[in-house]
Symmetry: C2
Subunit: 353 residues, 2 copies
DNA sequence: CGTGGCTTTGTAAGCGCTTTCAATGGTGAA
DNA sequence: TTCACCATTGAAAGCGCTTACAAAGCCACG
């Protein structure tokens, strides 16, 4: 029972197959040519001994981990899971492993990221404080981040989408719009607020200051309370994401406020709940999965050296019109929403399949 | 620019700090005692050279990867993300890395799992075909699986919860209950159906055969259509999970069927949407995050040898009563549900904090 | 039969760390 | 001043692979 870890090595296999370890290695990697007969001998030995190679030894010898790192700030909501799924799927396709670090959980002072850098060929990073990762000297891809000279960045269209969404509300005749979310919290929120501002300027209006709120449901509740109490005044809310929008909307509805008649509410992300609530939540859909896949793809090419100069990739988003913005529709179980694709100013270089 | 990967090694640091590599190693690991002055010299050298150690070399020397593997069948819905979050958080706490494999994406014939086994100390597995992982000879923890002699299993209470939930519906006077989901698809679904059956037997009733349906929303739509068409008859639906329940309910509602009056619907998982829809979805909440954390914890102890005999851990669930089962409540934004904790027959050995 | 030129296989030198064991130097007691 | 004894540091042997490079077969050919 107290076997040493990894008792069966390539030497055991070689001995069993009566060949040298070099030959075993060659068979396993399928690299250079090996006679069919010896090849079979080796494979048999591998089977019989239940040989599992040591990735560490291989990585050391090859100077490559065949593993990509992904750093996410958290894992709440469908956004990150979707991103991760895209990343993993593409990585698997490229035969690379995936190591995940959730930065928020970092109790040990950046330890986890440092440890990560130790076992991967490159890191895809989504979050704040890029420096932490940059210092590792690993190949790097930034997700949903601001441009950084010499660094590959992948993001989605935010400004034009938010502008369009806001314009839509304005076109409904709404006059007192509020942006809910913290532009300083994340780069994409900043961009969404930017779009919000631009849409106002388009009409010569003065946009209100953002109502700062983190992205959790409880924060939405709080904002709703302020609205109900009259502490905040608005006839339309542009929320930084769907969780926030849904929480606010639910609380408002519960207090007898009519959404969208009294207040219109729109979000961002198009989470599952958005199409199940009444009224359906008008929001913006992003190709999150594609973002993840693209990140893995770019990172891999950075690592293997087959990448061109670092680029900024902006994937397109689309406005999803449901009822919460004030559009009236025949109620149905899952209303087919109207879609407004948002063209990207710097069109994506890489398209999803 | 074309630096060889990992040009700066422990040797460079040693040279720069004018000490031996042994000393550098000692400083970095904080293992044995080193004079404060040399310690500082080393740390400075590390800083200046931006030294990032090679995890591969370390793993090889230590014969330990300090990494735990997690295999999930997919990443859809909040269930897996939550599980993963719990796993990652606990692993980080234990200073272990996390490698993730999504089995469904395995285009390359089990390749990914085999590759995973070469780079981790142990694997937590959720899915079908356990043998694939078992063959690797790695330490193993099974999640939401049937018991397997000699293997650590972590799951949640399903039978008693489903029995209670079904009984609740029966107590509402419902007589033609249908179970929606495929008991053969996953072990926990099988257990839920078992609870469904038991509740019927408790009252001397004969349970209906399960309505087979995978767990996607589209499958729910299909079931709803059959109900509407009269192809299927029921006054209450016990669904294998919330996605299914929500999809069915939405379709039913859209077709003018009154839920819960005409048909009651209950689910399993307590996803976010469950508390936003009207009527609120009655469902069962599982401590998914704890399951993930427990898996990481057990796996770690298995790896480090500090584990007792393999156990089966069953974490408790609780029935969450909202409106879709037929209970009438004053409507409010986020109705505080009634909770029915389900005691576990084999109480959990390890409690979440 | 001896040779040259392939193809297949083996030898051995790392890859960058950890860790045991030995060497070194500083300290206090005698 | 000398010596024993620690505390600190260094030397070197792996860890289990990959991969030049060399050796050994094998064949056809002269």
């Amino acid at each position: 029972m107290s076997e040493r870890p990894h008792a069966v090595t390539i030497y055991a296999v070689a001995e069993r197959a009566r060949v040298s370890i070099a030959t075993v290695s060659r068979v396993l990697k399928g690299s250079s040519v090996v006679t069919e007969s010896t090849r079979q001998k080796v494979l048999d030995a591998v089977q019989e001994l239940e040989y599992t190679p040591s990735g560490a030894a291989r990585s050391l010898a090859e100077r490559r981990h065949h593993t990509l790192g992904l750093v996410l700030p958290e894992l709440g909501g469908p956004y990150y899971a979707e991103l991760l799924a895209g990343f993993e799927t593409k990585a698997a396709e490229l035969r690379q492993g995936v190591m995940l670090v959730i930065a928020k959980a970092e109790g040990h002072g950046g330890d986890a990221i440092r440890a990560l850098a130790t076992r991967v060929d490159g890191i895809a990073f989504l979050g704040r404080d890029v420096e932490r990762v940059r210092r590792s000297g690993k190949k790097l891809v930034l997700i949903a981040a601001d441009s950084l000279p010499g660094v590959e960045v992948i993001s989605t269209e935010n400004i034009a989408g938010a502008r369009r969404l806001t314009e839509h509300l304005l076109a409904h005749g709404r006059t007192r719009l509020l942006f809910v979310g913290d532009p300083d919290a994340a780069h994409d929120v900043r961009e969404r607020y930017e779009g919000f501002v631009l849409a106002h300027h388009d009409r010569g209006l003065e946009p209100a200051q953002p109502v700062l709120a983190p992205f959790r449901e409880s924060d939405g509740q709080a904002v709703a309370e302020r609205l109900i109490a009259g502490d905040l005044e608005a006839d339309a809310l542009v929320c930084g994401n769907d969780e926030l929008a849904l929480a606010i909307m639910a609380r408002l509805l519960g207090a007898g406020v009519d959404v969208p008649r009294d207040i219109a509410v729109v979000g961002w992300d198009d989470v599952m709940t958005a199409r199940y609530v009444r009224p359906g939540l008008t929001t913006v859909r992003q190709p999150v999965r594609d973002v993840g896949a693209l990140a893995a793809d770019r990172l891999f090419h950075l690592v293997t050296g087959s990448a061109k100069a670092p680029e900024r990739h902006v994937l397109p988003t689309e406005v999803v019109i449901r009822g919460s913005c004030g559009c009236t529709r025949t109620p149905s179980a899952d209303p087919e929403p109207d879609l407004y694709p948002i063209p990207t100013p710097h069109p994506s270089k890489v398209r999803s399949r």
